[in-house]
Symmetry: C2
Subunit: 465 residues, 2 copies
């Protein structure tokens, strides 16, 4: 009923491969962003499911044309907005092969090979971040789910205190706040602490807030530190925060979704000093490890912490008990059915080797440093921050009020959006509206960055306030 002849399967797979390879080849010559309004897309896509089937090739072509075309190409070499992502082809093929083998990496019995390979990949990560033997982890859908795993483990390790308090900075990602809310920490017990002009939290402010909460009978439970803030790539003072957590018996969770894999380079390792003292770390291989969505990961200092928080027993799963050495990964996290996310990391690294990955990360760090230098030396641009591949700057011709500058920069951003091949986004740095480049793509060249900056300078003179 839902089966296809092998020849049809092959023909369709080749057609999809051709579509993807053509897209890849054409990418550099196209605009980074395409999209449409809801009315237009609803006209094309809203319909009841058909009673009879339609030719598979037409369905594929329609999806490519009317659906997948209407996206930001996050892997475009001039895609600098938000956090871009540029997956390797072996990573994409790994998703294809994992889907085709229909892997459910839930239990050892159901997936012994995938379970062992996930353990291999987690072991690599553990070593890269300097976590000790006995640390462990789990692949997740992304940084948000990984942070949630960290906070559940923290709460269980603390014995489920009634009035648990979480500490983070005003630069922490909204996903960290959301994770705290999901585990039941109400907003009045989420301390959002101020940061200095470099975007880092003040450890003294953390210590004071902890003392105040203890005095009020609440239970300081977890510090969520940043290792690469989403706004500007700032890294909180991890050693000082680790000291506080050690003294106060609190859990240190580090959000390294963005910046974590920079640790593979000397510059990144220096910036992330102290991350090896974390109790849990969330990282995203779909960012600086060049994998397709979704690939997240939670690492924990004590491998047992996840299992103690998440293990479930059920009559219908009794056959899954396979002996102590044979972990059921579904007992370590939120998901029972689990796709095989470790495969893409493994296939990519096996195919290209670590030297190529380090060079690809260095490329992003280098280009960001050059972009910062360019903005700093420009007559029309003002550099506001530069760290770990992220550069925040604005058009500032001089003599304008803060309000006028914000309006001017919004106009410039709109010009880039509608008129250029490139895509960049905005944020707030020290209460100023700024343009933001995040440079991650291994295909991005200095020409890509320079021409984008030149376009911004050009718009700065064309757009009058």
């Amino acid at each position: 009923m839902l089966q296809m002849a092998p020849e049809t399967m092959r023909e369709l797979a080749h057609h999809v491969a051709d579509l993807l390879i053509e897209r890849n080849v054409r990418l550099r010559g196209e605009r980074a962003w395409e999209g449409d309004f809801k009315d237009a897309l609803a006209d094309r896509l809203d319909e009841d499911p058909p009673e009879a089937g339609r030719p598979a090739r037409e369905v594929i072509d329609r999806a490519a044309r009317d659906v997948l075309n209407n996206t930001l190409r996050l892997d475009h070499p001039r895609s600098f907005g938000f956090v871009p992502a540029c997956p390797t082809w072996p990573g994409v093929l790994a998703d294809f092969i994992a889907s085709g083998f229909n892997v459910n990496a839930a239990t050892w019995l159901v997936a012994s090979g995938p379970s062992q390979l996930e353990s291999v990949v987690i072991g690599w990560f553990r070593q890269w971040f300097g976590l000790p033997d006995g640390a462990g982890g789990l692949m997740t859908s992304g940084g948000s789910a990984a942070a949630l795993h960290g906070l559940v483990a923290a709460r269980e390790a603390a014995g489920n205190p009634d009035r648990a308090v979480a500490y983070m900075s005003d630069q922490s990602h909204g996903a960290q706040v959301r994770a705290a809310r999901i585990v039941g920490i109400t907003p009045d017990r989420i301390r959002v602490l101020p940061t200095d002009t470099s975007g880092r939290v003040d450890p003294g402010a953390v210590a004071e807030a902890v003392a105040a909460d203890r005095a009020a009978g609440r239970t300081p439970m977890v510090v969520c530190a940043n290792a690469g803030t989403p706004t500007r790539g700032a890294v909180d003072p991890l050693p000082a925060l680790a000291d506080i957590c050690a003294a106060e018996r609190m859990w240190l969770h580090v959000d390294a979704a963005y910046g974590g894999f920079a640790i593979l380079t000397p510059r990144g390792a220096a910036a992330l000093e102290g991350i090896d003292r974390a109790d849990s770390i969330n990282v995203d291989p779909h960012k600086w490890l060049f994998q397709p969505y979704e690939a997240g990961c939670i690492l924990v200092r004590d491998a047992g912490a996840l299992e103690r928080a998440f293990a479930i027993q059920h009559d219908v799963l009794q056959d899954s008990v396979w002996g102590a050495a044979h972990a059921n990964l579904a007992d370590q996290g939120i998901q029972l059915s689990r796709s095989f996310r470790a495969l893409k990391v493994w296939m990519s690294i096996q195919t290209f080797g670590m030297a190529a990955f380090r060079a690809a990360i260095e490329n992003g760090l280098d280009l960001a440093a050059r972009a910062a230098e360019y903005a700093g030396g420009s007559r029309t641009l003002e550099l506001l921050s530069a760290s770990l591949g992220m550069v925040c700057f604005r058009v500032n011709p001089g003599g304008l009020s803060e309000d006028a500058l914000a309006r001017l920069n919004r106009k410039v951003l709109a010009h880039v959006f509608w008129g250029e091949q490139a895509f960049l986004s905005s944020t707030m740095v020290n209460r100023r509206f700024v343009l933001r480049l995040c440079i991650l793509n291994h295909n991005t060249t200095w020409d890509d960055v320079r021409e984008t900056l030149e376009a911004v300078e050009r718009f700065a003179t064309e757009v009058t306030e």
Copy 2:
């Protein structure tokens, strides 16, 4: 650095397609289960990441041989254990294409086409389950995450009560208990209520427990009902539970991960009567809608409930605000980065049409009914339950104690596991150890089921207590 020549990309994609198609063709002739012990797999797979790359084709072949081969083939026509799954080829290709386009279905700006298509698919589901206009939902990693979304929405809708209580049955899936734990409902406030001999919760027991909790100053918040229990496919009395929830202003969440899509058939719709009164429903297209892992979904009666529970604001996302009609799906759930799960559902249904899907679900229901009839008429087998594609039975030659019967059936199960092409699992029904068939695969024939039952009968006579 991490780029490949188009010709290499094409050659590798064709190689992966060939591997998957060959696997598909050979599947019926192979054993349903392969696996290995940790020591053996660690010998083959444990190693540091290589500094230099290796030939991509060798990496792919090694993954297929040493990793992916060591799994339960959940799509084997004689895979009857746990909840099997048999994805369509357009569903697999959709995962490939979504990875290759590197879709992040987080916001309208980043993915307008995928956002609209997800809304189309959710609209189909909403109608199938009889939810009103104004209902909505979100694709998730699976039923566990979907249930978690439902419970967070329930908790936020109830105003985050301090002593919230959740009600479920002793047949509810462990993932439902886990979801309640994650949102902060401690075990002493999770009421696990007894079921009758048909595996259904007693609404009177729910009402009594609610009254007792109210009297004790706790806040009854949510009833988690089952629409297809994992053990035996039983459906809780949904209309009576909906009445209680309406009277007590509680949230009714229905776990239809397993049984939900049976609603597309007359038998399934009859069994699931009352599901249209749920406040939230979790369903898994990777089960009875024949999609590859992962494809889950949460449906909510009030579309705004998810956004009120999950929306995040962040400076770095300010460009994503695109106008009221243009939903940012990341504001409706746990994930920010989100892969494009709706595409596989859409491509499969467009390609095969609804009639084929209904027939494929009917096939599972038919075969399970015939299996139940066979077991009921067998001299050596005893039928213990049959509902919604699940059949629980045991070997019972007569004259044995309950303990002896349990030992005998464990031996028979081991014989099937080691000696047959087929795979089945076990569970407990009314405190009895039983063998369990879950029949979902659109390729499964009566011969597959009959020969498996005959093997069990044969082992029953060969194995002496």
